[in-house]
């Protein structure tokens, strides 16, 4: 990763503690990031569609959200052309095979099961950022961009 670039991250998660843990995990990382959070699916879609929106590099999307589920958001997002290069990371407590497969089928790039340990979360997030940067800088085929952690 370039030392000058700041990676823009958006987290959609209805759980206040999970949002806090996420922010804390990024605190220790040596890579520059800016993090925005939204707390449900409708807020997410509105955020991405607002005219002044700065499209993030990565979206971390919780599956279980009220008002609009993560999966519904994913399907909607994948229909928006201007979000084609947005890397979607499903960030979920679920490890159901079906959930995982459904999200990849609908265009998610990374499936990340929420770790319970902050140190593990930090390490995993760093890995996600590294892989994502490789995809962006190495001309790899985004259609095959699938990673399960």
């Amino acid at each position: 990763m370039s030392n000058e670039e700041t990676i823009r991250i958006l987290l959609a998660d209805d759980d206040k503690e999970d949002r806090a843990d996420f922010l804390e995990a990024f605190d220790g990382l040596k890579i520059k990031t800016t993090i925005e959070t939204v707390k449900d699916g409708i807020e997410l879609v509105n955020y991405l569609q607002s005219p002044s929106a700065v499209i993030p590099d990565l979206l971390f999307l919780d599956l279980n959200m009220p008002k609009k589920s993560g999966l519904d958001c994913l399907i909607e997002i994948k229909q928006m052309q201007f979000l084609n290069d947005l890397t979607v990371v499903i960030y979920s407590t679920s490890s159901s095979e079906k959930d995982i497969e459904d999200t990849f089928l609908n265009g998610a790039n990374i499936y990340l099961k929420k770790p319970s340990d902050l140190a593990v979360l930090r390490k995993t997030l760093l890995h996600v950022l590294t892989v994502n940067w490789q995809y962006n800088t190495s001309g790899l085929n985004r259609d095959n961009y699938m990673l399960q952690l």
């Binding site: 990763m1 497969e101 990849f104 089928l105 001309g139 790899l140 085929n141 095959n144 952690l149």
Partner: protein, 189 residues
């Protein structure tokens, strides 16, 4: 009816560079796909315009020496992985060292510094990417894919695929096929 597109990236890139440089009235010669010799020095303004035009197509002008070297290492690795003959990876360090005229230790150091990752990891990444392409065509069995990429066995290939992506080749293939089926079904409505 679904058609499979195969891209000749070399031609695409050459044509793109040709069109853009002509548009800017620049006379140039290609040393290779990644190095272009322009017959004069560019003004800041021209360079800036050219840079943003190229950026639109995902092409970057790289200036830092270390970044340039990393790019060359990556190109050399991609070339190795994509060659038609069976990939001989045990000699990669020698191959890279010889091709780029630097010790492997030096190359490793620069690569790690710039990318926060290692040459070895990058090689694995490219091999797995190639495996994904081969699997997506539906033309090869996993045994054939593992052979092409010089894995000692299909089991070893599966293991590295799973370690790298978190999915088994079977899971990956299933998703690719189901996505295509879904796309066909959606198009039919």
């Amino acid at each position: 009816m679904i058609y499979y597109l195969k891209y000749d990236t070399l031609t695409i890139c050459k044509q793109l560079v040709n069109k853009l440089f002509q548009k800017n009235g620049l006379s140039y010669s290609l040393i290779n796909l990644n190095e272009v010799d322009i017959n004069r020095s560019l003004s800041e303004e021209t360079l800036s315009t050219l840079r943003s035009q190229l950026n639109e197509y995902g092409v970057e002008i790289i200036s830092s020496q270390k970044s340039i070297l990393v790019q060359k290492i990556k190109e050399a690795i991609i070339e190795l992985v994509n060659q038609e003959d069976k990939l001989i990876l045990s000699k990669t360090s020698q191959h890279l060292s010889k091709k780029l005229n630097q010790s492997y230790r030096f190359l490793s150091g620069v690569f790690s510094e710039v990318t926060y990752s290692t040459i070895e990891n990058y090689i694995i990444l490219q091999k797995i990417e190639k495996a994904k392409e081969l699997i997506s065509t539906g033309e090869f069995t996993f045994a054939e894919v593992s052979w092409k990429l010089n894995y000692s066995s299909a089991a070893h290939f599966s293991m590295q695929f799973k370690n790298t992506t978190g999915l088994t080749p079977t899971q990956f293939k299933k998703i690719i096929i189901r996505r295509r089926v879904n796309a066909i079904e959606n198009a039919a409505h």
